[in-house]
């Protein structure tokens, strides 16, 4: 078995190659959220179009809902927005917008131009709620169940595929859990 030790470099190398090969199909910058299956962080924010009225996290308990983080300065949001508008018309799940680090006027104008799929939009001017939700790249979306637990995070814009294969089935499952049929 003297020859065994001489094959060690080759063996280690081939193991390494396997990992490198796997790495080609992974994105080193796509970071999964640590908030999955944890309670959605609390917030109390004013609505974008009604500065007086505010919405709290606990107001949302009892229903499954989607939180979509957007901004008027965000280029990728424009790609995603038509999909969201279309999806909102299916009336499967209420969508709430989180206008992240934006100006009220700019945010409202953007929604007026590109369509408003949201039940309401929350105004997160200084981005603190965004930080609490671990937002680092806009757009991002969170699917939250009736008990207020985050069950899914979409990093980056929605694709039709993601909506069809991931979002809709999960929405249906969560609603069944909550007792809505």
């Amino acid at each position: 078995m003297k020859y065994l030790r001489y094959t060690l470099p080759l063996a280690i190398f081939l193991g390494l190659v396997w990992f490198l090969f796997q790495g080609l199909f992974l994105d080193p910058k796509e970071v999964p959220s640590p908030l999955i299956n944890k309670p959605a962080p609390a917030f109390a924010l004013e609505q974008l179009d009604q500065p007086g009225a505010s919405i709290k996290r606990d107001d949302m308990l009892g229903k499954v809902w989607l939180l979509n983080v957007f901004a008027s300065w965000c280029v990728a949001c424009r790609e995603e927005h038509p999909l969201l508008v279309q999806f909102s018309r299916m009336k499967l799940v209420p969508i709430y917008g989180l206008n992240y680090k934006d100006e009220r006027a700019a945010g409202m104008k953007w929604l007026a131009s590109f369509g408003n799929p949201y039940e309401a939009s929350l105004f997160d001017h200084d981005g603190r709620v965004g930080i609490d939700y671990g937002v680092y790249g806009v757009p991002e979306s969170f699917l939250i169940d009736a008990k207020g637990v985050i069950r899914y995070k979409q990093i980056g814009p929605f694709t039709p595929e993601a909506i069809q294969t991931k979002l809709i089935p999960l929405v249906q499952q969560l609603q069944k859990e909550a007792g809505h049929v």
Binding site: T7, L14, V17
Partner: protein, 662 residues
């Protein structure tokens, strides 16, 4: 027309490389002198063709031919000429061409300077290099053609990334590549020896100078990159353990191990398998580095724009080259002889221990660099591994390595006695400890970690001094005798001492700057001043200026000490017009005992500016130490024994060829 010519030259080069890669190897296996004789002419032809392609790309840059996609992506009419030239290697495709250009340069050097080698050996070496070039040429032609056209041609280019518009950019990549790629020569020598079965001390003697020269270039290349980060990035750091930095550092560690291992094999014929393995490993890590930087597998500021198809190609190439090398090794290594005998405690052992430590260091860097990828591939989540990890893990490995640096040169070949060593080195150790503590006391504060770092540096200096003294001590015959003996020292020995002193200088620089550097961020109005470490920085004024391809706000800071003016620094905040990125240009006053470093922060209300002032003691010793290391290598390579041996071997090779017995 010119880009098409360059493209055509690359295709022709591929053909020649295939010939060079296959026929001489076949010829060496079958004893066909005509095939073997093809190796050198092919290498020359390959050099001409690749250089032609490079010239075409360079011409496209200088002529600002934006119908070439690569030129349009990396240049601009307002870009100053030196950076238009450096744009050649500013992106992925061009830097690949640079890689191949360096490879053919080394090929030609091997073809020219190894006439004393037996023909079969030379044929194999050039063939292996030819095969490597086939891989890179194919990669370029199939996935990364620098001569792709862009129609319609835009009126102006996208400009070179402003971070790269700097003298460092002009020299850093070519120097670095000369080093990386140069390890291909040692690799080719190793493969040739494994195939031909002539792995012996003579092989080590041939391989050594090539390895040392490649190592020199890599040392200088890395030092340039580090110093460039220091003055260009504006926050005074010089090493971040970024994946791409690590990709160049790992071959360096292995190359250093290889140089020392070759010493053992050359002198004593021992541990040949180990040396051959190291030669394969050093170049393998160069190739691995190429993969890591271009495949998108790791996230880095240095990484080129990525494409999974490219990553796949390089990985396949990597697997073929390294896999077949390791397979060859597994097959042939068991047949290699053991070399000469040596005792458990001997110079050979210290050099081998040095090897083990350097290998473990390279392994640790590899582990840290790839671990996030490994965890992700196993579905175990995403983590980051950064400077806190590497600093914690790497420094403790360096301490024993440096300790050995003092002992190794003093140990004797074959067998050395511990009491003898201890006796000879006790003064060195004592002086080093005192000097380390003394330096801290002089500097005003003593810290444990700093004292350790200083101790390492002084240990090297004192042991080199001891070694030197042992060899030239005049024994009562006076100064003339001392001078005579110094002059008689072999240049390679002096080279070793200088290189080791370079390491000491490096350690001194790192320790002193990390322990005693001062940063001060202040808010300044025109006319204000701040005092740091006795230096007074006075904010004289701000002005708007226009550079060739940027607009800038320039501040003028006057520095004085004890009332006398030292210099005036002009940091800038630039906006490059084409890509519209903001950039901070720091201003540095370098000095033997430290740098004064000033950069501009933001403008605040009232017309005041945030100004960052750093005093960095002895920081230039870091890069000065690297240059010393490289200079030591140069001395070693120009030792008379190489020049004489080459002549003698050429003579005996000639005699052999004429049929006479030597």
């Amino acid at each position: 027309m010119i880009p098409e010519l360059g493209h055509f030259a690359l295709w022709l080069a591929l053909g020649v490389a295939l010939v060079q890669g296959v026929l001489p190897l076949w010829g060496a296996a079958r004893g066909r002198a005509d095939f073997m004789a093809l190796a050198r002419p092919s290498a020359y032809a390959l050099f001409v063709l690749v250089s032609l392609a490079s010239a075409c790309l360079l011409a496209s840059f200088v002529r600002s031919d934006f119908s070439v996609l690569y030129v349009a992506s990396n240049s601009n009419t307002q870009l100053p000429l030196p950076y238009q030239i450096a744009g050649f290697w500013g992106g992925h495709e061009g830097s690949l061409l640079l890689w191949v250009q360096m490879l053919v340069l080394w090929m030609v050097a091997v073809a020219l300077f190894s006439r004393h080698l037996p023909q079969a050996v030379q044929a194999r070496i050039l063939a292996v290099m030819g095969l490597v070039s086939v891989g890179f040429l194919l990669f370029m032609l199939l996935t990364s053609n620098p001569f792709d056209r862009l129609f319609p041609a835009p009126p102006d280019g996208r400009d070179l990334n402003p971070l790269l518009q700097d003298p460092g950019m002009v020299f850093h990549p070519p120097t670095l590549y000369m080093g990386y790629v140069g390890f291909c020569v040692a690799f080719a020598f190793a493969i040739a020896a494994l195939i031909g079965g002539n792995l012996d001390a003579t092989w080590a003697r041939w391989t050594r100078p090539w390895t040392t020269v490649a190592w020199m270039f890599l040392t200088v290349g890395i030092a340039m990159g580090s110093s460039w980060a220091y003055y260009e990035l504006g926050w005074g750091g010089w090493w971040f353990w970024d994946p791409v930095e690590n990709a160049s550092f790992m071959p360096w560690l292995l190359g250093t191990a290889l140089i020392h291992s070759l010493a053992v094999t050359e002198k004593r014929g021992s541990f040949k398998n180990w040396t051959v393995l190291l030669a394969i490993l050093a170049f393998s890590f160069s190739l691995l580095g190429t993969f890591l930087v271009r495949s998108g597998v790791l996230s880095s500021v240095h990484a080129f724009a990525t494409d999974p198809r490219r990553g796949l190609f390089i990985l396949a190439f990597l697997t073929v080259v390294i896999g077949s090398s390791f397979t060859l090794f597994a097959w042939r290594a068991p047949t290699v002889g053991l070399g000469a005998r040596f005792a458990l405690l001997s110079k050979e052992t210290t050099l081998l221990a040095n090897n083990v430590l350097l290998m473990v260091a390279a392994g640790a860097v590899l582990l840290g660099t790839l671990y996030p990828l490994i965890l992700d591939a196993l579905g175990l989540g995403k983590i980051s591994v950064g400077p806190p990890y590497f600093d914690t893990v790497f420094l403790p490995l360096m301490a024993p390595t440096i300790f050995l640096m003092g002992i190794g040169p003093m140990a004797r070949w074959k067998e050395t006695a511990l009491p003898d060593l201890a006796q000879r080195l006790k003064w060195a150790l004592g002086v080093a400890v005192l000097a380390a503590i003394g330096t801290g006391w002089l500097a005003g504060s003593i810290h444990l970690l700093a004292t350790c770092g200083l101790l390492m540096a002084y240990w090297i200096i004192c042991s080199v001094a001891t070694d030197f003294w042992e060899r030239v001590a005049p024994q009562g015959k006076g100064f003339a005798e001392l001078r005579r003996k110094t002059g008689q020292l072999p240049r390679a020995l002096v080279g070793m001492m200088v290189a080791h002193l370079g390491v000491a200088a490096f350690c001194l620089g790192v320790t002193l700057v990390k322990t005693y550097e001062v940063e001060s961020d202040v808010k300044m109005n025109v006319g204000d001043s701040t005092t740091v470490r006795g230096y007074r920085f006075a904010f004289k004024g701000v002005q708007q200026i226009q550079g060739p391809n940027y607009d800038a706000t320039r501040a003028t800071i006057e520095i004085s000490r004890d009332g006398s003016r030292i210099t005036e620094l002009s940091p800038e905040k630039r906006v490059y017009r084409v890509q519209q990125n903001p950039m901070t240009e720091a201003a540095i006053h370098p000095g033997l005992t430290g740098d004064l470093y000033v950069s501009m922060g933001e403008e605040v209300e009232g017309g005041a500016w945030i100004i960052r002032v750093y005093v960095k003691p002895f920081i230039d010793w870091i890069w000065g130490g690297c240059l010393m290391m490289a200079f030591g290598g140069l001395l070693a390579v120009t030792d008379r024994r190489y020049r004489r041996k080459a002549a003698a071997s050429a003579q005996s090779a000639n005699l052999l060829a004429q049929g006479a017995t030597p």
